[in-house]
Amino acid sequence: MDIIRNFPCVSIMLCLFSGILTSGVKEKAAKYINRTLIMTVIVLNALTLYYTLATGSAFVYVMGMFPAPWGNELRAGALEALMATFFGVIMMLSLCGGQKKLFDEVDPAKHNLYYIMTDVMLASLLALVYTNDLFTAYVFVEINTISACGLIMIRQNGRTIEASVRYMIMSLLGSGLLLMGLCILYDLTGHLLMSNIRQSIIEITKHGLYQIPLAIAICIMCVGLAIKSALFPFHAWLPDAYGYSTVSSAAILSSLVSKGYIFLLLKIFYRVIGFNLIRGSHILNMLFIFGLCGMISGSISAIWEKDIRRMIAFSSVAQIGYIYMGFGLGTTEGVVASIFHILAHAATKSLLFISAIGLTDVSGGSRSFFELTGSGYRNKIAGIGFTVGSLSMVGIPVFSGFVSKLLFAEAAVLHPDQKMLPTLIVLAISTILNAIYFMKTVVRIYVPEKASVVRRKGYFSVKPGQQKLYTVTIICFTVLNLFLGMMSEPIIHVIKMGLGNFA
């Protein structure tokens, strides 16, 4: 059984290796390597999850000969393993769903570069999830940024390149701030490993030393990671990047990349600084306020948007606002709700992106909202997928979005301070706004289009058996959503247990 302890390290190294090997092979082989890799990663991390659940505690894996403060370390607990497995599953499904589109939109000579990017991206996500060392986190944050930029740029039109410039500038600013915060923390504590920094911080707080630099360092790191994960005032790069890149990239970016940074922020809160200390500072209040603003402003922008892909992208801004709002509540319930929302949002948003592409394909490739009329009949499976995703985002029971909203409301009610009322009000407003734009779209795709228009514009219909991989992907996503919605208890249990192991 103890061999399972090696699996996190093995899975990261495997990802990097297959990225390296992929650069020397043809497209076909690259695809097979990529698929095999992701399957392997899912299996390895699922086994790790099983192991951590069986032992009931987290374990530390020393990378190399030298233990704690001297060498690098990985740390795997239930929450980390759950996240890693989930990231693998979402990445697999997103790649499968967007495969046809990838062939249409991307030059075949560059497919293996695309697979390199996804392999390395998965490696960096796994490393961000598992690492126990702040500087390793920084290095892999950079890898994540660069490969995300590659994923945006792989479809080359003016929009994506402009979007990737904006993305790069914002996220390099973010990583600069993160590095700055990290350096100040190193200077205050003399350590880079999360657990050791934590101990030193407890020590210096006890003596009341260096309180101002500590607060500023935490603040800078939060701002950096918030910029990178597109929290409300820093979301300018997001709609273009998600709206115009190829669909697998959009799904991966929206559901995984920003979530990786958010998870890192969570680790910094819990494992580096300690949640009690964070709760005493005003940083959580700031995150709370920005989260609330993001929830409202993202939804309003989405209502005004006529382009369906950009609409979904703006909805991401709102959902990231939810997650930060949950952190901002400053209670364990709030954090649990946020983590569950990370999962729910990842499963739903990639489903939405992938089914939206099916709908636009049968509407003459137009992304305009009005052209989508009746597309739900022309591509039935995509229509079903989009409906499921919308219902989940709005928060209809049975689907995953409902559970996370319920958890948010519960956390707000249980909150001791005066944060309860604003949370509940904004949650209600945001749900209504969500319902407006998602239901508007769902109704639009199920309003029958006049036959003459269909003939004139040359719309075609997709028969159920035609796109097998796409159909299977949508079904898998739907099942995943229903699973998260109906079987939420064990997952919440795992999250709670993982958070307990965090400290």
Partner: protein, 124 residues
């Protein structure tokens, strides 16, 4: 203001440089200047880190004559971190520059405002 501003003058300069880099990044519309601003920000952080290790009278951590005394050498950790950082920043700036070339080939300008205006005109 705290007590150590004068003693930490190298760090103070590094922070000012960070601010100047940030200023260049925010205020200059030209992409190449933005990239230089990013580079200045990065080097400022590295200067900050490297100066943290320095103690007068101690030498670089290369063991001479087998003397392994802590009192004799400076702390090697910041150097290692900065080494990693420099390589990261060169690859990032190469990437940014290649994006610049592509953008210029398409829009014949380096100004981000103008590029946005052209995008609106294209109505993509």
């Amino acid at each position: 203001m705290g007590p150590n501003l004068y003693a930490n003058y190298v760090e103070a300069i590094a922070m000012i440089l960070f601010g100047i880099g940030f200023f260049t990044l925010l205020l200059r519309n030209n992409l190449i200047k933005k990239i230089i601003g990013l580079n200045i920000m990065d080097t400022a952080i590295y200067l900050f880190l490297a100066s943290k290790a320095y103690i007068p009278g101690r030498v670089a951590p290369i063991i001479v004559d087998g003397v392994q005394d802590v009192e004799k050498y400076i702390n090697p950790i910041p150097s290692g971190l900065v080494l990693t950082g420099i390589v990261v920043s060169v690859s990032v700036s190469a990437l940014m520059l290649s994006i610049t070339i592509r953008l210029y080939k398409r829009y014949h300008t380096l100004n981000l405002d103008e590029i946005s205006a052209k995008l609106k005109k294209e109505g993509l």
